[in-house]
Symmetry: D3
Subunit: 246 residues, 6 copies
Amino acid sequence: MTSAEAAQAAQRGAVLVLPVGAVEQHGPALPLGTDTIRAEAVVDRLVDALDELVVVGPTVPVGVSPHHLAFPGTMTLRPATFAAVLTDYVDSLARHGWRRVLVVTGHGGNNATLGVVAQDVLRDHPEVELAWAPVTPLAPDALGAMNRAEVTGHCGEAETAQMLHLAPDLVRSDRLAAGTTVPGQLDPFARLSRGAAHPAVALPYDRLSASGVLGDPTSATAEDGRAVVDEVVRRLADFVREWSTT
Amino acid sequence: MTSAEAAQAAQRGAVLVLPVGAVEQHGPALPLGTDTIRAEAVVDRLVDALDELVVVGPTVPVGVSPHHLAFPGTMTLRPATFAAVLTDYVDSLARHGWRRVLVVTGHGGNNATLGVVAQDVLRDHPEVELAWAPVTPLAPDALGAMNRAEVTGHCGEAETAQMLHLAPDLVRSDRLAAGTTVPGQLDPFARLSRGAAHPAVALPYDRLSASGVLGDPTSATAEDGRAVVDEVVRRLADFVREWSTT
Amino acid sequence: MTSAEAAQAAQRGAVLVLPVGAVEQHGPALPLGTDTIRAEAVVDRLVDALDELVVVGPTVPVGVSPHHLAFPGTMTLRPATFAAVLTDYVDSLARHGWRRVLVVTGHGGNNATLGVVAQDVLRDHPEVELAWAPVTPLAPDALGAMNRAEVTGHCGEAETAQMLHLAPDLVRSDRLAAGTTVPGQLDPFARLSRGAAHPAVALPYDRLSASGVLGDPTSATAEDGRAVVDEVVRRLADFVREWSTT
Amino acid sequence: MTSAEAAQAAQRGAVLVLPVGAVEQHGPALPLGTDTIRAEAVVDRLVDALDELVVVGPTVPVGVSPHHLAFPGTMTLRPATFAAVLTDYVDSLARHGWRRVLVVTGHGGNNATLGVVAQDVLRDHPEVELAWAPVTPLAPDALGAMNRAEVTGHCGEAETAQMLHLAPDLVRSDRLAAGTTVPGQLDPFARLSRGAAHPAVALPYDRLSASGVLGDPTSATAEDGRAVVDEVVRRLADFVREWSTT
Amino acid sequence: MTSAEAAQAAQRGAVLVLPVGAVEQHGPALPLGTDTIRAEAVVDRLVDALDELVVVGPTVPVGVSPHHLAFPGTMTLRPATFAAVLTDYVDSLARHGWRRVLVVTGHGGNNATLGVVAQDVLRDHPEVELAWAPVTPLAPDALGAMNRAEVTGHCGEAETAQMLHLAPDLVRSDRLAAGTTVPGQLDPFARLSRGAAHPAVALPYDRLSASGVLGDPTSATAEDGRAVVDEVVRRLADFVREWSTT
Amino acid sequence: MTSAEAAQAAQRGAVLVLPVGAVEQHGPALPLGTDTIRAEAVVDRLVDALDELVVVGPTVPVGVSPHHLAFPGTMTLRPATFAAVLTDYVDSLARHGWRRVLVVTGHGGNNATLGVVAQDVLRDHPEVELAWAPVTPLAPDALGAMNRAEVTGHCGEAETAQMLHLAPDLVRSDRLAAGTTVPGQLDPFARLSRGAAHPAVALPYDRLSASGVLGDPTSATAEDGRAVVDEVVRRLADFVREWSTT
């Protein structure tokens, strides 16, 4: 996309979509960039579905991952840095007339900072509408149809399934192995943070799982992954289409 | 509490509980400090229930409320300031041996920043366990039993009920009036943010409701409020009791 | 106070009064929150005296107390955090038309940062007039009438007297004991900082007094405290009344 | 690359290579991401040349481009944000034992901030050796062999040639057109900044060229581009090989 | 002073003296750098008096002067910048073994920030003793002996007298003229801030005096100036001598 | 210069010149302030040459010198602090109508931060033209005529020659001694950073030279120094004259 094309896209009211992810441990079988890969793939498919309604902006490949720092390969931005990157992006975009920005995050650890960014944008750029969406939680139907362990999450069934669908070459299938799958394997304080209607807690991942894996990724299939991705893309596309008419 | 008593409490492993709230518009009938009042009241009852297991720390009375700034009386900290206050608190507490901190927030607008604070604490004070909890969402059972409008929330049935129970003198009952109660009254982008499994958005409250009220507070009763508060306190007390044994 | 009432108060030119204090060691007999308690009490009496001329804003309960960190229970904001809280307050207030803000600080350790805040407000909100006042130093007459040790100050005669008047239940009178009362008990560098027309120094309190007390609080009476508080309130009220006519 | 593989690479002393670029106007014919594309391509070829001596880290796709903000599509990080991203990267890498980091920047506007980052790393991570390199200036021989206008640079012969070699599909060859090619076309202050041994100045690009182009890209060939890229990669590879023996 | 000589001075426990001043309007007759000139002159004389007990560090020539910004020629650091300069100085000095630092400020507008710096140093460099002193207020005896207007201060009798003694060539004596000399000439809010035991306020200087002058400098003599400087130097020298024995 | 004179100078479009330097080790023979002394001396001569076209602003005497911190006497600002000082200066100057600012730095370690400052000024004060210049590199002809070692630089022939010309009393000529003069004396990584068209690196000076000296200052003469200074001043004067006509 050239400068002139960007000007036209902004003028026609396109939604600027920013994929954000993480570089962090993803167990023995998945690549460090799993979250970024999934976010970018979802955004690519969203573009296929929506064409000129959206434009893809630059990825933020490293996210907020202090809870994984005990594991090699993990890189993290401080939340303040991650927020500064996004607010600098919005500053630039607002200057050129963009009014709708959608952030798609492949990494749940970015959610809190994205919430903060949205509050700062609300104040400093009231003319910009910012929406942000995680990937996996946008597929409740597909998730419901999968077979998942009682404890599941990071590097688990859903994440592995998505990678088997989106980037099978990057999955070391022979190293897939169940991690923490039942509450009893968690340390006591970690157990406390499970269940509905309780206080939230932040925990380093080495207190959750020795291998960094929550759930049993060996049961994941590429088909499951396709179902998740399809549902996520469909929901995002519906959202953007409606947004574009407001 | 004197200096020596604080030393003893830290040493016996007590949980330090910090009430945080907001000073922001609460419609025509509720006081600006509604969220702080509810947080402090819940914490007071928690102390009654748990005695020496907890110690109450200083309140943060102003929270993150940029979305209410269009309404007079609203005060807000920038998210970075709110985070700095809490990390400074944790710095001080950690230095004196406190290892468990629970933040109780009466204001949902603080949630994102609390999530960020937790990530920073994880990195800079790995020896401290931080948990944080909203008030109203900790009472799913009591909420389920109440009669609430399709659109509800800020200054709505649940919040008003709590105030009728906790601080009836501060409620101008004659000014209670339904605000936005059905999606059709929201502006189109605001409508988009409703429902499950969709992107999150941040919106200024004047796009949600002309009076700043979501829901119909005229139906709220002090009894409902008591049920909400009781459930919140019970869940928090259970959490702290278990925590204290880890 | 509701949103609408706040709008009216701002419009009629009321002075917004902010009590700020500290959570820090106050020797064996006084509570950690002594400075906040005194600031809030003075402000309450000021409201009684001035009625609609003033409105009370949210307290900043924790102040700048790095010099007390050696003593358990002390919490401190970094000066930059304390300043950010107050400038965020002023930002919010200025937006809604407040033009006069008075900060009443129960803690001398906040003075320097308040001076800095005032300079930043001067630059960033020239439309706002900010005044700030300590508590005890506003009662020179009452202090002159009291019997005080040669070295006196934190937790000493004047502070204890105020607490005996304002919150006698929170004073452990049986633990009141003289702290450092003569210069010879100070460490040599601390001694240097005494007297008029000399350089200023900042010292950790454990170099000033083993118990954290300067002066002999055993001689303090509630009557003395009443005289101090009355004089402080009278001077503040005079100031606000005159201010309100400008 | 998985967590375990990252651990091995750090342990064997591999150089971590970070491509950084820009999203900014590149005239009517080149894409906004030209600098990032070239940096990533160079790094890819470096990996081909060096194999296990290097590992590629996450790209920083948006750089420091305030001088291009007058042109649509330009995004910029503030220098402080760009610096924070890189120091956060180094913080994470240092924690896991990386000792050599090479930043390859496709965008000259990042140079000053990279210099600052290096000074901060020197102080805060003396155990890490940081090197940083631009792309085009590392090919003095190939540049000398090209036919370039008297005024040349951004979007000019060398940059266009690289893109014709690396990503010909992204070059709108029919829109290539000469920009500012002789000093007389610059505004007077911009002219002042040319030549050796003079003060440096920073100028917005609209004072340098109406189209955002310096030089005449119509004369650029893919062959020239290959020569530039080959020389850059060769010099970087030599550097890394020597470094790896120290 | 060379690197080796600095090492020796630090080792023998010398006091590092930092002159700080301001660049701000000083009325029609005094130079913008008046405060810096006075601070440096006092420090020079202090060195003459104390020889090896002190070493002069680099001047901070621009201070905190937002209240003078309405007048041309005024430059100001934000308080946070001024504080950062001094804490960076102390960081460097502490690293090389300096344990005593004395800041001499010719500008009262720096006092609040110096107080904040001292609190930060107390926390981050407990091994360093920091003292700071204004110039004019260290000469109460000489001031008492001078003839000064009821309202006096900036560019007034005392400041002008010092300049007539220290740098007579820089004083445009023919332009000396009385500024604000009685309270009635102040604006009403400015008047409020006068007198003992009242709240402090910060005011822009154009509300205090049209010419930027407080007091009547026409009555100032070089002799008065000498008396002020001599007393200041004597008091500082006594302080440093005692300090050096602790 | 008084306030009124500053107003006139700004109005007539004078260039504001800011000397910046460093306080850092300069080997056994040169003073810590060598870079500041040279910058100020060059600026003084520039004023002599240009008269009313320029006005000298306040010096920044301490620069960015983390690479010299291993040597006693070195003081450094963090790059962010150094940048803040200069942007605060520009903020103040812009407010009073200054449109041209020239920074002359005697210390190469400031260059990167000056580049960053220029980018921030470009964005925040587009009405101000900022130029910045090092000292020694502005004399390529004089340098070419000098006899210099293969490795040369800090405290070497050129710097010493300038000091012999500008401030001979401050040079301990008897302690002048060759430092690192050939690449073989550098540590291997330091060697890597030499030569054209290679990546840049930042290194602590103790890895470059045990005495902190690069080159052989014993061969320097005051005459060489005069030639360097004359050329620098001539080039700067030409630049300013041309600038003043734009």
